[in-house]
Subunit: 199 residues, 2 copies
């Protein structure tokens, strides 16, 4: 499947085959692709909590308006971000030339330090980018996926023991689709969402 | 190129061939793929400002620490979001069964109304997801791309006449790469960014 087909065919899957299990190899491959997603200053600020445990997924389901996809999918990934990723940034450039590392590392810390809104924006942006990588990789692997924000973030934070300096962006379920996705609900015309040069 | 190859081969391109122009057909195709990206409640809250105008791109470049990619790429896209997308949501479900539309529309408005942080989070998240769609589509079309947040958002807002109820998430340059991308700067190990079940 080429990339454009995957983009066209990816749809949000609400109903999964609960009997199907992804292999550990498939889950690792999915995550190996996720971490190839770009991040600002190469901070790799995402943290992916891959939940397979039955009991924990039941708790997540209860925190997510009892949506069955949370337990019926093969895995539920909670996409989180580490808000202090801008600190100690040298390692994000360990394989780069020394002059690049020496330029980028202090820029990274200075750009985000003492700017809580920017740190949070970056969490949401990075997880969004990586989220689409996960959903398209899943599609290529023959799996369905669904991005979710319909849950109580405080309850989910408690369930996954989220550290205080981390934030949740969204959840994504991944598994074997149980039935074909419905048609698209209502696409806005290109003319409404694409602007030439200026508003 | 299959999706996994595109994810592997996509790299942030800093140097573009300034003589190359994308055709209008290519730009339209890129945007037609971008709008297939999922959004919460199908709000399609992104607005893509595709800047080709030479003078406006020069202004954007000055607002972006004089980074040459802003004028050397074929297009510079400013990814924005409409913060009040949750209002009048019926049209996002115009092609869905009536009972779906009648359920989803009031849920959408209620979920975001009077919650400015959630509206902003959704702007960043949606633009992140769509941003990766744009970058992978560009890769499949033979183009390079680069996500950018190194700019003065207030100046860019003035340049593109951003309405008050919109927000900027990031910019993405797209064009013909002038030289091969450098190696990756320093990947964090999977064990640091992937968590099993709970932190």
């Amino acid at each position: 499947m080429n990339t454009l087909e995957a983009i066209h065919q990816r749809r949000s899957v609400k109903h999964y085959d609960p009997a199907h299990r992804m292999t550990e190899g498939e889950i690792t491959s999915l995550m190996e692709h996720a971490i190839l997603s770009p991040t600002s200053f190469n901070m790799q600020n995402w943290r992916f909590v891959v939940v397979q445990d039955t009991e924990i997924r039941q708790q997540l389901r209860e925190a997510a308006w009892n949506q069955a996809q949370v337990t019926d999918a093969s895995i539920t990934i909670v996409l989180c971000a580490y808000l202090n990723s801008h600190r100690n940034p040298e390692r994000y450039w360990k394989d780069a030339p020394e002059e690049v590392r020496n330029m980028m590392a202090p820029m990274t810390t200075g750009f985000y330090e003492d700017n809580a809104q920017l740190q949070r924006d970056e969490a949401m942006r990075s997880c969004g980018i990586a989220g689409q990588t996960i959903m398209l990789t899943a599609k290529e692997m023959g799996y369905g996926s669904c991005p979710m924000i319909g849950f109580d973030p405080q309850k989910v934070a408690e369930i996954i023991n989220l550290p205080e300096d981390h934030v949740i962006s969204m959840m994504i379920t991944v598994g074997k689709a149980a039935d074909p996705a419905r048609g698209r609900g209502g696409q806005l015309p290109l003319s409404e969402v694409v602007v030439s040069d200026q508003f």
